[in-house]
């Protein structure tokens, strides 16, 4: 069953067409990976879903059309977004970043859940977010969005630029989150994709080039080499 249905999604930026009619679904449970080489339109797709870029075509979330809605209205429908650059407010403290994200009916249980996943956020509550390490900023970006009543998370390259140890911690936390909230995961680290995502969609030059089971994709060296530019001959690449 699909929660998010994207059909013929087209986006142009600065007069150049970036997405040329992207069509795929995101399941109502688990992790769906959105893969592809750099510059094929993965982040553009994420931003178009959120309404951050003007787009044409159709993006239906639980049957409701999102195209034309302002970003805040999309977010209020329950789509949480963790952007590629993490989007933490560096001049605000960790606590203020979280306070900004919390809904009006602030739930203590949500804070407990986030602090259980990322204890460092409670320890560093008073620290300016800009002084956190890259990994801690990523934890803040994810933890902050988990305070909201999400029905879908769009997470863009959560392990980018992180050390293997921290990347593993972040991936572990996201796997935990995916037990209750479906995730559309944009990720270059195929090791993370392999452990997290049941399904994958691969973009190539603004179009969907492949859809299917992640393990089948990663088990096909020819396909991964052709679409992702990496070799997975031994079954795993990171």
């Amino acid at each position: 069953m699909s929660l998010l249905e994207i059909a013929d999604l087209r986006v142009s930026l600065g007069g150049s067409a970036i997405l040329h009619g992207v069509t795929f679904d995101v399941a109502a449970s688990g992790v769906t990976a959105l893969l592809g080489r750099n510059g094929v339109g993965k982040t553009t797709t994420a931003k178009a879903i959120l309404g951050l870029y003007a787009s044409a075509g159709s993006v239906r979330f639980d049957g409701r059309e999102l195209i034309g809605l302002p970003t805040y209205a999309v977010a209020r429908l329950g789509i949480g977004y963790v952007p590629e650059d993490r989007g933490v407010f560096s001049a605000l403290s960790v606590a203020e970043n979280m306070r900004l994200a919390e809904p009006r009916d602030r739930a203590t249980a949500a804070y407990d859940y986030v602090y259980e996943l990322f204890p460092v956020l409670e320890q560093r509550a008073a620290q300016p977010a800009g002084t956190l390490s890259g990994g801690e900023q990523q934890m803040l970006a994810i933890g902050r969005i988990l305070l909201r009543p999400n029905r879908l998370l769009v997470v863009d390259e959560p392990t980018k630029g992180l050390s293997p140890k921290v990347a593993s911690e972040v991936a572990h936390a996201l796997k935990e989150v995916a037990r209750t909230v479906p995730i559309l995961l944009i990720e270059q680290n195929l090791g993370v994709v392999r452990t997290m995502a049941g399904r994958s969609v691969v973009l190539d030059t603004g179009r969907v080039a492949h859809r299917g089971e992640t393990r089948e994709l990663l088990a096909n060296p020819l396909l991964t080499n052709q679409l992702l530019g990496v070799s997975t001959a031994n079954g795993v690449s990171s």
Binding site: L50, L52, P70, T71, Y72, A75, R76, Y81, P83, G87, F89, S90, A91, L92, E96, N97, R99, L100, A101, P103, R144, I145, R148
Partner: protein
């Protein structure tokens, strides 16, 4: 010594005016990326509305009434401008500049049509018309009113931005407006509030400038706006404390240079701006150029 005290008090009085005008300008640009060239016109409207009230109500009652009326007029014209002119032009910076420049020219012309081109004398209450002796210097009392109100506004803004959710939204929006909306927050409401707040501060500045000069004239706001832009560039868009520090620097440098040579005051501000930009190498939003 008395000259130094007098120059410093006058510089700080000017700094208070620059801060009142620049704080709104800075917040509007920081949050909305809107260079509001009509902001000076909001100052002029506040000045004339305040003067009209003071002309009808005398004494301290008239002073308080004129301050409140100036604030209300500035907020009202700013809110109307945001709603009718800025909002339809979001994402079109050139059109916003053209529209606000046009409004910035039209409003003083309208004020001139209503009240005439000549300045109108502002009669201040007796207790405000005198001087206060500071280290032998006779400092006009009105300077202290200006400084006191600017300090009060600075503290109020710091409380607003530090302690309230609305302030948090504005601070976050200055940094990354897109991400704030992605958290489910309608930034347009913050935009309207910031525009009105900036207009209120500009209207207040209009009244205080009238008290400072002892008169109002249609071009008051425009002359203050130039220095307010310099303050915004020096202080960093969206930074209230930075704006306050920059306002003090500009006010004092201008006064001291003016004393050295009557023609140096304004030029010294331009030199200060160039020096800071060359040394700091930051753009208008305080980011590396």
């Amino acid at each position: 010594m008395t000259t130094l005290v007098l120059l410093t008090a006058t510089g700080l009085g000017l700094a208070a005016l620059y801060f009142l005008v620049a704080s709104g300008l800075s917040l509007i640009f920081g949050l909305m990326d809107v260079l509001n060239f009509a902001h000076g016109a909001f100052v002029s409207i506040g000045g004339y509305v305040g003067w009209t009230v003071a002309d009808h109500l005398s004494g301290t009652f008239g002073l308080v009434g004129s301050l409140l009326a100036g604030i209300a007029a500035g907020a009202a014209i700013a809110a109307a401008t945001e709603l009718a002119i800025i909002r339809p032009l979001y994402g079109r910076p050139l059109d916003q500049v053209l529209a606000t420049v046009g409004l910035g020219l039209a409003i003083p012309a309208l004020l001139q049509a209503i009240w005439g081109a000549d300045s109108r004398t502002w009669l201040v209450p007796g207790w405000l018309a005198g001087t206060v002796d500071v280290a032998g210097a006779h400092v006009p009392t009105v300077r202290f009113l200006l400084i006191g109100i600017a300090v009060a506004l600075l503290l109020a803004l710091r409380l607003l931005f530090g302690r309230t959710r609305a302030g948090l939204i504005v601070r976050a929006g200055v940094e990354d407006r897109e991400m704030v909306t992605a958290l489910g927050i309608d930034v347009r409401r913050a935009n309207s509030a910031v525009f009105a707040l900036g207009g209120a501060a500009a209207g207040l500045a209009g009244v205080l400038y009238g008290l400072y000069q002892g008169s109002v004239s249609p071009g008051d706001g425009t002359s203050l706006l130039i220095f307010a832009f310099v303050v915004v560039v020096l202080g960093g868009a969206g930074s209230i404390t930075g704006t306050a520090v920059a306002a003090i620097a500009v006010g004092l440098v201008q006064q001291y240079a003016d004393y050295a040579s009557a023609s140096l005051g304004d030029e010294s501000v331009v030199i200060l701006l160039a020096a800071v930009l060359l040394l700091r190498r930051r753009n208008l939003q305080g980011r590396p150029a």
